[in-house]
Amino acid sequence: MQKMPIVFDCDPGHDDAVALFMAVGSERFDLRGITCVPGNNLLDKVSQNALKLTEFLGLDIPVVAGCPKPLAQECHPAVSVHGASGMEGPHLPLPKKQLAKVNAIDFLAQQIREAGGELTIVAVGPLTNIATLLLAYPELKGDIKRICIMGGSAEGGNVTPVAEFNIWHDPEAARIVFASGVPITMCGLDVTHRLYITEPEVEEIRALGRVGRLAAELFDYYKMYHGEGGVHNVIPHDAVAVCWLLDPEMFYTRSLHVEVDAGSGLSRGCTQVFAISRDMGDDSVKAEVVFDGDRDKFVQMFKHCIANLG
């Protein structure tokens, strides 16, 4: 089967890391490169984390640092979730490789052109790089096959009562992306909160090999943010976006109009999903909004991908 050409735009990030494992381990993607964006932590930290991950996986692909800050505000690193390094927990050696000395936006444009209309962008961090790409290369919009996003939420946020972190970190960028007309899949909190991994399952993952051990160590740190009342399930948000591309059929997805609030009020960063969209005409821009998925199958696929990496 033809591999799906993708670029991975991320802010590693514990869940970015395991999403990357899933993508590479699936053997279904042609991963052309990784572009980094600040979010979980500042650009230099997340870029270093990305380099460490690619070396750990033995990947020889470009890792490019993107925009250093959101379009219209300052960075807000999620240190309470991901720690001081952005990927606290396991120790990974300092990377020998360096970041590719190319402009990230030019790099993305080049990948789009080379893939001849087949490139999917997997965007699991704030959408700063993606929006800048669409602004700087408006003529390439029609050549992007899909942007598969981890971000947003139809019902309730995490960083504010209505806003999910990635969108909240750069609402202007998100608004630009969602209004662009490029095919978008939005894997928001609605679905990611349902696709959790249990503690016993994490132990199974730990036993799968070298990558499994790393994933489990990442989960050991990351689950501390998610646990409640002694039960420590872990929610690997970003991996859901990868899984949707692998098997969209196992998800419940609706084609709906999404409007991002980039104003200065209390709902800044909210993805307004017009779920009861009687009044939205057929010509309004729509996104594929993912609401639910088969959790058991997700975990099974996740384990399968990790096991493939050895």
Partner: protein
């Protein structure tokens, strides 16, 4: 004398046209590129006009196409204000030159790096190209010496009560530019209006007869017929329907800074949708605690501006 490297970012546009004539006439300027943006009219027209204006004035430089729409908000073009083509009723000879294949923001960056920190920019339209430049190239501020904008206003606006069109049309881009740490100068609507030339001033200027003054006269007829009514009343000028050339006066302030008085203040842009969208908030009392990022033109000397225009028309008689 070392020429100063410039890029002119504009949306020709009647007053952009005359401003380009002025900039091209200035021996001290080395115009590295003209970049077009949608604003007064759509991007196809502003780009076409930029090419043809360079041709008519004999300016041999790069012309690069910029943004077709603002970064985030919906575009708003004021239909008819500049005529169907953007140049009133004037039809220019078509330039044999083609657009540079690169985007405006890439040309600006390339030229900025080449000029090793000496490049200055005059922006006379919505600031979309500069917003995209600064987002795509986070190190661009290192290479840009100064940005002078025709934009904003001390009080009176045109797109809304206090919002001047260029800033109002793309508030996000304007916000990005004002917060960029690049030294800025702002020649605003109200200041320009108070120094507007009278109809008899223009008659004096058009006494210098040449190709450019004739074209200018034709182009400006479209603006004159519309008049500036309310601004006249507010600034207690008699209702003299002479054209208001904002972009031209902005370039004049760069050509000859002695004609304007500037005061350094902290300026920011209101980007929220609402009645104040696009307002340039000027901290006159210096109470905000922010560093003062912009030289705000508080007055322009009308006679001085007229002299600059006189010199321009004389240049084209040679």
């Amino acid at each position: 004398m070392d020429k100063r490297p410039f890029i002119i970012d504009c949306d020709p546009g009647i007053d952009d046209a005359v401003a380009i004539f002025l900039a091209a006439s200035c021996d001290a300027f080395d115009i590295r590129a003209i970049t077009s943006v949608a604003g007064n009219v759509d991007i196809d027209l502003t780009t076409r006009n930029a090419l043809d204006l360079c041709h008519v004035v004999g300016l041999d430089t790069i012309v690069a196409r910029g943004a077709a729409r603002p970064m985030m908000v919906e575009p708003k073009i004021s239909v008819g204000a500049h005529g169907a083509t953007g140049l009133g009723t004037v039809v220019l000879e078509r330039s044999p030159q083609a657009e540079d294949g690169r985007h405006a923001w890439d040309v600006i960056y390339d030229e900025a790096v080449k000029a090793a920190g000496e490049l200055e920019i005059i922006a006379m339209g919505p600031l979309t190209n500069l917003g995209i430049l600064l987002t795509k190239y986070p190190d661009a501020p290192r290479y840009i010496k100064k940005i002078t904008i025709m934009g904003g206003s001390r009080v009176y606006g045109n797109s809304c009560a206090y919002g001047e069109y260029n800033v109002w049309a793309d508030p996000l881009a304007s916000d990005i530019v004002f917060r960029s740490d690049i030294p800025m100068a702002m020649v605003g609507l109200e200041t320009i209006f108070r120094a507007k030339l009278t109809s008899s001033d223009w008659e004096d200027l058009f006494a210098e007869k040449n190709h450019i003054s004739e074209i200018t006269r034709e182009i400006l007829r479209h603006k004159t017929e519309r008049g500036e009514g309310i601004m006249d009343r507010i600034t207690a000028r008699s209702d003299d329907p002479s054209p208001l050339l904002c972009d031209c006066m902005t370039v004049a302030c760069v050509v000859d800074p002695s004609i304007a008085k500037f005061e350094r203040r902290y300026v920011c842009v209101e980007t929220a949708e609402g009645p104040s969208r696009g307002r340039t908030i000027i901290d006159w009392q210096n109470r905000s605690g922010h560093s003062r990022n912009c030289e705000v033109a508080v007055s322009v000397d009308r006679a001085g501006f007229k002299a600059v225009m006189q010199k321009m028309f004389a240049h084209y008689s040679k």
